[in-house]
């Protein structure tokens, strides 16, 4: 019998992030306005680094069935913390350049990272909700940082109102699920006769999570919210919230399979994300749900890629790219025929690849954009990479990874998802996704061509941040290093998912 205190090392990465946020917040009033952006980002960065180190030490297990840790969750938390570190650098560079009067954004960034980690670790719907709200509230404030700008207010208002509505939808779904299972545990067995109620609850939860990750048709908020936010925050939102949201969707998907098999996850056990589950039967409701998800995935790809083609603002372009990437990530949910093992390894690999590349791209663009991010449109960004070769080089790496060029982690992610799709027998969708990936690659490379193209007439804005330079350099190396065989999540490489999902 373990005491509850001995369970807490599992929460160490979150606790360290939280402590960093609180320390940053507490130190903020004692620093002179001009020193805030010198010290606070570093305080926050040290906490994030400590949390990353703690990730190597955490065990597999769960705390009270509320939050769990396993190799896939360690990997995803690592992605979140890495993206947070990059975003801290971007935030330092842009807030310092604008002489932003206040250091709270650095603390809020850590609180949002905490929330996203809790979303990843959640194995209980209420625990998930707390994580979602913690991440969302911090991000709402970060979106509205430039409050004197009309577009910032517009983005904040749309995001906040829609976010609140979908939080309510999530809770409504949790209430329905509780009514049908008598428990808020993810994957709890359904009481006899309550399958309809349960399915409705799960559908509402899925809708709310699809909103959080900005998949079609719940993507309408993202171009405005992304454009209203400072460029550095845009990358953070796109990366971190999406990791949290998709981890929750993945956990829900495994839970749906457990219930489809006619079972449930007992209250003292949890679903581990790094294990596969054998799909013994494919009931009609799951088959329908899967088809809906695949249609949404293809439409996300379509809308993301084709709406992105005509955009001039780099932030809007990345917003549509994020919709398209939600499409690829949803494709990883496709189910094989009954009798084979479902594992979501390709989803986790793609998710972290996407998170690092997006946070890196936007931080590099924040570096190149002028005061107040006024010049994030392609006309003003043209040729900026020539003036700033280091930023240009890392930007090239991140965009190459997003486009899915070989020897980057982005390629591995796309390859795993598409080869999984083919292996599961969804050949037509795989070909369609392949074509979309080519269109996507064309527009990322087009962006690069503009950035490296003609000589720029605009002097680059004087951005300064040692943190950003270090984080960008490490992240760019990680894009290559993570491709090294065996460096991916343990047990996540295709071919060895033959472990039961439910484990004590």
């Amino acid at each position: 019998m373990t005491t509850s205190v001995s369970l807490f090392p599992l929460l160490l990465p979150v606790a360290l992030t939280l402590t960093g946020g609180l320390a940053t917040l507490a130190a903020e009033p004692f620093l002179a306005a001009e020193r805030k952006h010198d010290w606070l980002p570093w305080t926050a960065a040290i906490a994030v680094l400590a949390a990353i180190i703690a990730l190597f030490a955490v065990d597999t297990g769960h705390v009270h069935g509320l939050y769990a840790m396993d190799s896939a969750r360690v990997w995803l938390c690592g992605g979140i913390l890495g993206a947070t570190l990059i975003a801290l650098g971007g935030l330092q560079a842009s807030l310092r350049r604008d002489a932003f009067p206040g250091g709270e954004p650095h603390a809020l960034l850590l609180f949002a990272a905490c929330g996203a980690q809790l979303m990843v670790m959640a194995t209980d719907w209420l625990a998930l909700f707390v994580g979602v709200e913690l991440a969302s509230l911090a991000v709402y404030a970060l979106v509205g940082l430039r409050r004197q700008h009309a577009e910032s207010g517009e983005g904040l208002y749309k995001y906040f109102v829609m976010g609140s509505v979908f939080s309510a939808v999530l809770l409504y779904g949790v209430a329905m699920t509780y009514g049908a299972t008598g428990s808020t545990h993810v994957g709890a067995a359904v009481q006899s006769g309550s399958l309809g109620l349960w399915f409705f609850g799960q559908a509402l939860i899925l809708v709310a999570l699809l909103f959080k990750v900005g998949a079609f048709p719940f993507h309408f908020w993202s171009p405005d919210a992304y454009t209203g936010a400072p460029v550095a925050i845009t990358g953070f939102m796109g990366a971190v919230i999406k990791v949290g949201g998709f981890a929750a969707i993945g956990a829900q998907w495994l839970a749906l399979i457990v219930v489809a098999n006619g079972g449930g996850v007992p209250a003292d056990q949890v679903l581990f994300l790094d294990r596969g589950i054998e799909l013994t039967v494919l009931p009609g409701w799951l088959s329908v749900l899967q088809q809906i998800v695949l249609v949404l995935a293809v439409l996300s790809l379509w809308v993301g890629h084709f709406s992105g083609l005509g955009q001039r603002s780099a932030r809007r372009l990345i917003a549509y790219s994020s919709v398209a990437n939600a499409g690829y990530l949803l494709l990883a949910l496709a189910l094989p025929a009954a009798g084979s093992v479902v594992s979501l390894g390709s989803l986790w690999v793609y998710l972290v690849a996407y998170a690092i590349a997006t946070a890196g791209t936007l931080t590099a663009l924040a570096w190149l954009a002028d005061h107040d991010d006024r010049h994030d449109d392609l006309d003003h960004l043209a040729g900026q990479c020539r003036r700033d070769p280091f930023t240009g080089l890392v930007l090239t790496v991140f965009l190459a990874s997003t486009a899915g060029l070989p020897i980057t982690i982005g390629f591995i992610g796309k390859f795993l998802i598409l080869s999984d799709l083919v292996a599961k027998g969804w050949l037509v969708i795989a070909i369609l996704a392949m074509v979309m990936a080519l269109i996507g690659a064309a527009y990322y490379l087009g962006l690069l061509a503009t950035l490296w193209g003609s000589e720029s007439k605009r002097e680059p804005a004087p951005a300064r941040s040692a943190l950003a330079v270090a984080a960008l350099a490490v992240a760019a190396l990680a894009i290559f290093a993570l491709c090294w065989p065996g460096w991916l999540v343990p047990g996540q490489m295709p071919g060895n998912p033959k472990v039961a999902a439910v484990s004590p």
Binding site: M1, T2, T3, S4, S6, L7, L18, L25, A33, V63, H64, G65, L66, Y67, A99, F100, P101, G102, E104, P105, A107, L108, F111, C114, L118, L126, A127, V130, E133, L134, L137, A138, Y140, A141, G144, L145, R147, Q148, L156, M176, G179, A180, G182, Q191, S192, G193, S194, G196, L197, F199, F200
Partner: protein, 194 residues
């Protein structure tokens, strides 16, 4: 004897509270004066509190009155009065978009009613005066820190962080001027000039 009386009075209260809640909710949607809307919303929240009490959760019912119908709505009414929002006779009550928008909640509501009616009741009616949601039942469960407990104390602590983040976010967005940021007051002056 008491049981049979319960069987009559319980549903009576249920229908009364439900009627008040639905009528007040319709009032929120249709009234032209924001203050009337706020008062209707208080009615909805109070009726909900009554429903919670009927379900055997006096604690949630009291919190509903104190926090939602009390604190939050007082704040809302206060804001409405500060902004001095008058009756709005210009905006049409319903336009094409709002009627189209009505279809979605109606659809969700009809599906909800359908699945709820079809589902098996999880618990029977409360037995012999046992209040499942009483403070005496709730507190030990909420603060049970043993390893075998539900661990809700952990969520309780995390909600503390959540409220802190909400305060920081609100201060950051609403502070009249952050140190050395004159542009906000300028835009406000411009807005008053219109």
């Amino acid at each position: 004897m008491l049981g049979s009386l319960d069987a009559i009075i319980g549903p009576l209260y249920f229908w009364a509270f439900s009627l008040v809640a639905v009528c007040c909710a319709l009032g929120v949607l249709t009234t032209r004066h924001p203050l009337h809307g706020a008062v209707c919303l208080i009615g909805v929240l109070l009726a909900m509190a009554g429903l919670y009490a009927l379900l055997g959760s006096p604690y949630v019912a009291v919190l509903q009155v104190l926090v939602y119908a009390g604190a939050i709505m007082v704040l809302m009414v206060f804001v409405l009065m500060v902004l001095n929002q008058a009756r709005d006779d210009h905006t049409p009550r319903f336009d094409l978009l709002s009627i189209a928008g009505l279809l979605l909640p109606l659809g969700v509501a009809s599906v909800s009613v359908n699945v709820l009616a079809g589902a098996n009741a999880l618990h029977g009616p409360a037995q012999g005066g046992a209040l499942e949601g009483s403070v005496a039942n709730l507190a030990p469960r909420l603060f049970d820190t043993t390893a075998a407990g539900p661990g809700y104390y952990l969520l309780f602590e995390l909600i503390g962080v959540l409220l802190l983040v909400a305060i920081v976010a609100a201060v950051l967005l609403a502070k009249r001027s952050l140190a050395g940021e004159p542009s906000v007051t300028k835009t406000e002056d411009a807005a008053h000039g219109h």
